[in-house]
Amino acid sequence: MTDAAERAAWITLAGVDGVGLVHFGALVGQAGGACAVLDLARRGALHDLPHARRLTRAVRTAIADAAHEPERAQAELDRSGVWTITPLDAAYPPGLGDLADPPPVLYGQGDQAALARPRRISVVGTRRPSVLGRALAGTIARQLVQLDAVVVSGLAFGIDGAAQAATVAAGGVTVGVIGSGHQRPGPRAHASLVRDILTRGAVVGELAPHARPTRGTFPRRNRLLSALSQAVIVVEAPTRSGAVNTAHHALEQGRALFVVPGRPGDRLTAGCLRLLRETEARPVVGLDELVADLAELWPAVGSDPDGRLQARPAVPALSWSDALALLGPAERAVARVLGAGPAGLDRVIASTGLAPATAASATTVLQLRGWVTLVGATYVAAGPLARPP
C-alpha cells in the first residue's frame, strides 16, 4: 500500500454521499486506513467493522459501489477542475489542525498558495446589512489588501460578498469558503464574483463537487473560516447569525476576534454588542486602531518598509482642509455635507441648496477623485473626506 494509493482511497471514501466526518473517522480508524475500508467493501465484508453496522444500507451500498469504481471520484474532480488537499499532504493548512474535527479532504479551486500566505483574516457578517455596514466591509477589506493580507469569507450575500468584492476590486487575494459542493459555489448571483476571486485567490470547501448544501453544511463551514484565518472581524451580526457562530469558533480555536460595535437597540448589531460584552473580542474603533492591533498579531513581512505594519501607504495622507482647498465651491459644499455623514443625492441637494444638476455634477467629481463612494443610493465619504476635523 503506497501513500498515493491511500490518498486516492481517502478521496474516494470521503466523496461517498452519506459518509460525513464522523463515519469517515470511525471507519478509517477501525480498519486502519481508507484503503482497508475499500478492500473490505469490495469483498462484501464491510460489516466486519463495528462502526459499519451503524450505517444505513444505502450508505453501505454506496461505499461498495465507490470501492468497485475507485477512479470515479477522481474523474469527477478532474471534470470540475477541483484540486484536493488531505491531512496526508504537506500543503494541508496547519490552521485546520486546531479543529477537533478537521475535514479529511479539502476541496478547492483557484490558487492553492492563497491558503499558505502569511497573513489571513476573515471578514464576516449578516446577509442583509445596512448601507453603512456594507460600505464598512469594503473599507476594511481594502485596508487589509494594503496590509497584504488574504481576506477569507463565506461568499454569502451581504457583508461577506461586499468584503470579497472590494478585495477583488482592490487587486487583493481572497479565499471563499463554501458550504456546498464546487458545482454550486455560493448564490447564483455571485457567479461573476467567484470567477473574479479565482483569478488570484481560491474557493475551498469540505464537500465533494456534486454535494448539495443542507441545513447543517453552512454552520459547519463557519469553523473552517476561522480555522483558515489568524483573526476574524465581525461587521454587523444579529444575535442569532452565522457570523456570531463563526466568532465563537474563532475563540475556541484561539483566533483573535475583532468586532465592529453598534448602537444598543439596533437589531443588526445586537450580536456584535453581545460578543463585545461576553467575550474577549476587541472592538474595532477605527482603521488605524485595527491596524495597530493586527501589528501585534502578525510578524513583519518584507513588504513593510520599516518592519512595522503601516496604516496607510507611504504617500502622506491629504488632510481634510488640504483636500477642501483642491475643490471648487460646489464640490466643497457637497464635501461638507458628506463629511458630516452618509447621504443620498436628495439630502445633498436639500442641504447645499444647489440645483440638482450642479449637485449631481459635484458629487460625480468627488466620486471620480475616489473621495466619495456610492453604496446603494447613498454617498459615503472616503479618503480625506472621511477624516473631517
Binding site: 448601507v131 461586499a162 436628495d346 450642479t358 446603494g376
Partner: protein, 529 residues
Amino acid sequence: MLATLVTAVVDGLAGSLIRVEVDVAPGIPMTRLVGLPDAALSEARERVRAAIRNAGFEYPASRVTVNLAPADRPKRGAAYDLAIAVGVLVASGQIHAGGGSWALLGELSLDGSLQAVSGVLPMVATLVRAGHRRIAVPAANAAEGRLVAGAEVVAVQGLDDAARLVAGPRGRRAATASRRPATRVSAVDPHGDRPADTTRPASLVAPIEAVDLADVRGQATARWALEIALAGCHNLLLVGPPGAGKTLLARSIPRLLPPLDDGEALEATVVASVAGLLTGVAGLCRDRPFRAPHHTSSYAALVGGGPRLAPGEVTLAHRGVLFLDELAEFDRDVLDALRQPLEDGSVTIARAGGQVQYPARLQLVAAMNPCRCGFAGDASRPCTCPTGEPERYVRRVSGPLLDRLDLRVEMERVPPAALLEGDPPEPSVQVATRIAAAREVARQRNGGVPNALLSGSAVLRVGGFDGRARRRLEEVAARQLLTARGVHRLARVARTIADLAGQGSVDEATILAAANLRDPAGRPWELAA
C-alpha cells in the same frame, strides 16, 4: 334584383373600402352571407332581419345573397349591418336608390335603431379618399366623422333615416307607399344610457387624480430625473419603498407634458377611434396620452390583439407616456412584449388571417419596489424578505427590458418633518414650460426626433459636445466600465440636461451631472459596494 352599396372596415389603424352586394332572387326563402364573415358578422343576418321588420319594412320571402367584396379579406365586427339592411331594401324594391351614392356605416339594433361603432374616423377618411364624400354614420359617431376634412357626414338615428337618405326626395314616396307604420316596442330611448356629450374633448389621458408638483415635497433627485425624462423622452425607472412617492410623482406627468401638435393629434385621435374611445366627443385628442394600466393587465390589453383585435395600451400611449406601476408584478411575458414597441415604435400582431401593425412610439415610465416587502436598502425599516429574495425580485424585470431604459432613480421615503417645513416646491406650470422649451429645441436640432431616439453616432455628431466634455465622457466610460450603448445613453441624457438649461453646447459639468444618474440595468445589488 341587385343592389350595391359602399361601406368600410378598419384594418390595423387604416380603413379599407368594402363593397356590399345584395341580390334578391326568386327561390326558397333563405339568406346567405359570403365573403369571409366572422361570428359577429354572421349574426348580422339575424339583426338585419329583425331591424327591417321592426323599422316597418318587409323582409323579402326570397333567396337573398349578400356578398362582401373583396371576398378574400376576413371581415370583422358589425359596422356593415346598415349597408346590408339598406341593400336588402333596395334589392327587394322597397325603396329606389334615388338619393345618389351614400356610404353607410353602423351596427343595427333589433328595433332598427343604430349603435355606435369604433374606428369611424379612419373609415370615413378612407371613404373620402376613395371619392365617397357622402357618408351616413350613427349619431353618436357623427362628431368623430366630421373631423375628416371634405367629408359630408350625416348622423342617422336608425334604419328608416338611412332608407330616407338613400331613397332621396323622389324615392321616398315609393318607400313610404309600401311601408307599414314603424313599431316602437322599446319604452326606453335607445341612446338614453349614453348621452352624446359633444362638449367633452377627446382624450387618451387615463382618469387619474392629477397631481401638481407643488404638492410633491422632497424627492429632489426624482423630480429632476422626471423633468429630464419628459424633456428628452427618456424611459425612466423609479425604484423605492412604498410611500416614497413614486405613484404621486407619476400622477404629475399629464400636467407636465406639452400638448400634441396637429399631426400627432390626428394619429392619437385615430387610435382612440379604433379603440372605441371617441364616442360622442368633439375635436381631436390634443392632450398627450398618459396610460396607466394595472399590473394584472393581460398581454392583449397591454400589447393589443384579443378576439376583437383592438389596439393595446402601448398603442393608446403612442406619442405619450405609458406608466407601469409595480413593474416587477407584471407578467414576464407581458413585460418582454414591451421590447418590440420600445425598440421599433410599433407592435405587430400576427394572426392566421394576416397581420396588423399598430403604432406604439411611447415613452415608458415605470415604478417598482426594491423587493417584495419593499424595504430593501431602506435606512429606517429592515427588509423582511427571505435571503436572496430581493435579488430574485429585481431579476423579474429582464435585462433586455432594463437595457431599454435610460434613467433609474432610487427614491427614499421622505422624513415626515420634511413634508411640513420649508417653502412649497416649484409648481408644475414652471417645470412644464422648461420641458416644452427643451423639447422644441431638441426637435429642431435633431430633425423632429427627441433626444432619446437619436442614434449613438447622431447624438455625438449633432450634440455639440465640447473638447473637455468629450474627455470627461471617455473618463467616465472607462471608470464605470460603460459599454458603447452606455456611453451613448450618457451622451443623450447629457444633451437633454443641457437643453433644459438652455445651453447650446454640452460642457464638462453636464456630462458629470448625467453620469450621476444611474445606469438602469445597474450591477447586481451585491456588487454595488
